[in-house]
Amino acid sequence: MTVAVLPGRGVIGWAAAADHKVVALRLTVAAAIFMLAGGAMALVMRAELAQPGLQVTSTETYNELFTTHGSSMIYLVMIPLALALGAYLVPLQIGAADLVAPRLNLFASWLLVLGGISIYGGFLTAHGAATAGWTEFLPLSDDTFSPGPGTDMWVAGVGLANLAEILLAGTILLTILTRRAPGMTMLRLPVFTWATLVTCLLTVFGFPALEVALGLIVAARHFGAEVNPVAYLHLFWFFGHPAVYVMFFPFLGAVAEVVQVFSGRRLVGYNALVLALLGFATGSMTVWAHHMFTTGQVPNEYFAITSTSLLVFAGIEYFDMTATMWRGVVRMALPMLFAIAFLAQFVIGGVTGVITASPVLDYHLNDSYFVVGHFHYTLFAGSMFALFAGVYYWFPKVTGRFLGDRMGRVHFWLLVLGTNLTFFPMFVLGYLGMTRRVADYPDQPGLDWLNLISSAGAAVTGVAMLVFLWNVLVSLTGGEPAGDDPWGGHTLEWATTSPPPRHNFDSLPPVRSFAPLLDLREERTL
């Protein structure tokens, strides 16, 4: 498979390429490896939690596992994948030859890999990997309570990954602002590119706060600084909440593209959706301390009001996508199946977010399994399904081949079953009083069988992911050839070859709307 022209041959050529497509694929491969590792850890944790008592791991190992699972999935998997999608697709969607600053992107992709190696390297040190969760609150993460190099390597690794993400977001943002094809005004940007634009804004404005928070951990660990723990919470969540939407908007954008193409029409309410994305992103910078309702240190009313207001923007997005299907001709191909499952499942993550946005409800549900269920419904039942919609949709563009349809359908149904079995019982577990980040829990009525169902669901999810992996490996070389535009795409990436050449386009069609290829097809049939 030839993805692009490389500087040199083989693995070294691929590792040193600065082409945005190779950079994006390199990030994707790295994120996929970290996802496999993080997913395997989740399976070990669910095995431990299947019954009360300790059977599989020690408490210490469990603490390393949940810390590295969460850190992987957020810093090394979902955020990089969100940006990798943009790094690959944005230049193609706006008719550009590459991202700006290609060598900076090359550099950033390796920073991320280094960051991941540093986090995982902690397992090889005397005290093991970091154990204070993906949040590493102070003073728990200082040298008194988390001795050993594992936590230092975690800090270094997250710092590098975060820097990589800021750099990538910056170049993607600049590319959108400066490299658009003739005729492509801001209100003719494809929806996915708009979603990526707001994602990059959030990354550029929100993520530096994490570097400062990490600096506080270093100051506490190595320079004896007494850090105000509430200040750390503010800095961390000022990054942490926008991060949630960085792991959501690009995938939502992918679903919006899929919904349009497989409904055979332009998106209904394009302007409303763009406005909603901008409002959503702006609003999401004002909600961080809803993670701190139970601290007694923040004005809860303010953060309850800003957090609840976000439901209006989410509602607009649902309206526009449902209306697009309602008024279109729906084809139930695999990308569309995943897109619809995303919409159906994400709403559960959304409404449970509205519930925890209410301080009095959060006083009970905060730090419980209810919250674990909530964010896995947004990130896994939501963003992951949307990512799969995008992968099944764009795989033919990247490789020139389809992903296998029959195996794809097995993957889909197993994943729907596994996901809901795993994460739905968590809402009840949290309500009943089960707290997070525990290897063991009391043998109380309800807790045992609900945990068992959740663990069984995790096993099904694991099988589904293996089916997908197998499908990718088989389809890379043996998949059905797809041609340049197998789905009847609307946006410019479908106007070039699959895979695209190094410079992306030999010629560009005129851009008169946010669906230039659909314009061309409609002109021809007139």
């Binding site: 210490e60 204070a132 309410g269 009313e301 209006v312 509602g315 001709v329 619809i340 009095v360 707290t435």
Partner: protein, 201 residues
């Protein structure tokens, strides 16, 4: 909304939210199913401009959001309002143990991993930590609060019924976090006075 207790306020508010959110999920599922089914029927399409419908929909959503904000903020201000308390409890959380110093009318008793409180009266809790951040959670009264090492935080709780309940640390605090549990024994006023007198130091 709801009673004056954290438990009563939570239960009433949660019921309201449960109805609204369940209705929203069902509505989305029905709308998606309808759109897919209609979209799969070939033939008649199009129809008028939906932007008026969308504006109406946004107004409806905003109304729901404002209603939720109103009820949630009112409940929160009521729950968080300080009340005169006859019983004071100093809570010290540490890796991995709870220390409660319970005081009423000059009598003071210290207990570990066991909290004894009277039913039906306002109790003021003053919580702090000796080391890392912890969080004191009593699921029975639907309430938890962080314990910080550098500051004391105060809140009121009222226990509506007698009995023995579970308490636990909700914020991850290191190796034995999952074993940092305590029991809450809620007794009647006379029983509490007798207990306090017997255990006063």
């Amino acid at each position: 909304m709801g009673g004056d207790t954290t438990r009563g306020a939570f239960d009433a508010l949660f019921s309201a939210y449960f109805v609204v959110t369940t209705a929203a999920v069902l509505l989305v599922l029905v709308a998606l199913a309808a759109a897919v089914l209609r979209g799969r029927r070939r033939g008649a399409r199009r129809g008028g401009d939906p932007s008026r419908l969308e504006i109406g929909y946004v107004l409806l959503l905003s109304t729901i959001a404002v209603a939720l904000m109103a009820v949630t903020v009112t409940t929160e201000l009521n729950v968080d309002a300080r009340r005169p308390a006859g019983v004071q409890v100093q809570v010290v959380a540490s890796q991995w143990r709870w220390t409660f110093q319970t005081e009423q009318a000059g009598h003071r008793a210290t207990t570990f991993n066991r909290l004894v409180v009277p039913r039906g009266t306002t109790i003021a809790f003053h919580i702090r930590s000796r080391d890392v951040i912890h969080s004191m959670w009593i699921p029975e009264v639907r309430f938890k609060r962080y314990a910080f090492p550098d500051r004391t935080t105060t809140y009121d709780l009222e226990f509506p019924s007698t009995g023995t309940f579970e308490g636990l640390c909700a914020q991850f605090c290191g190796l034995d976090h999952d074993r940092m549990r305590f029991t809450v024994q809620v007794v009647d006023a006379a029983g509490f006075a007798a207990w306090l007198e017997a255990h006063a130091s």
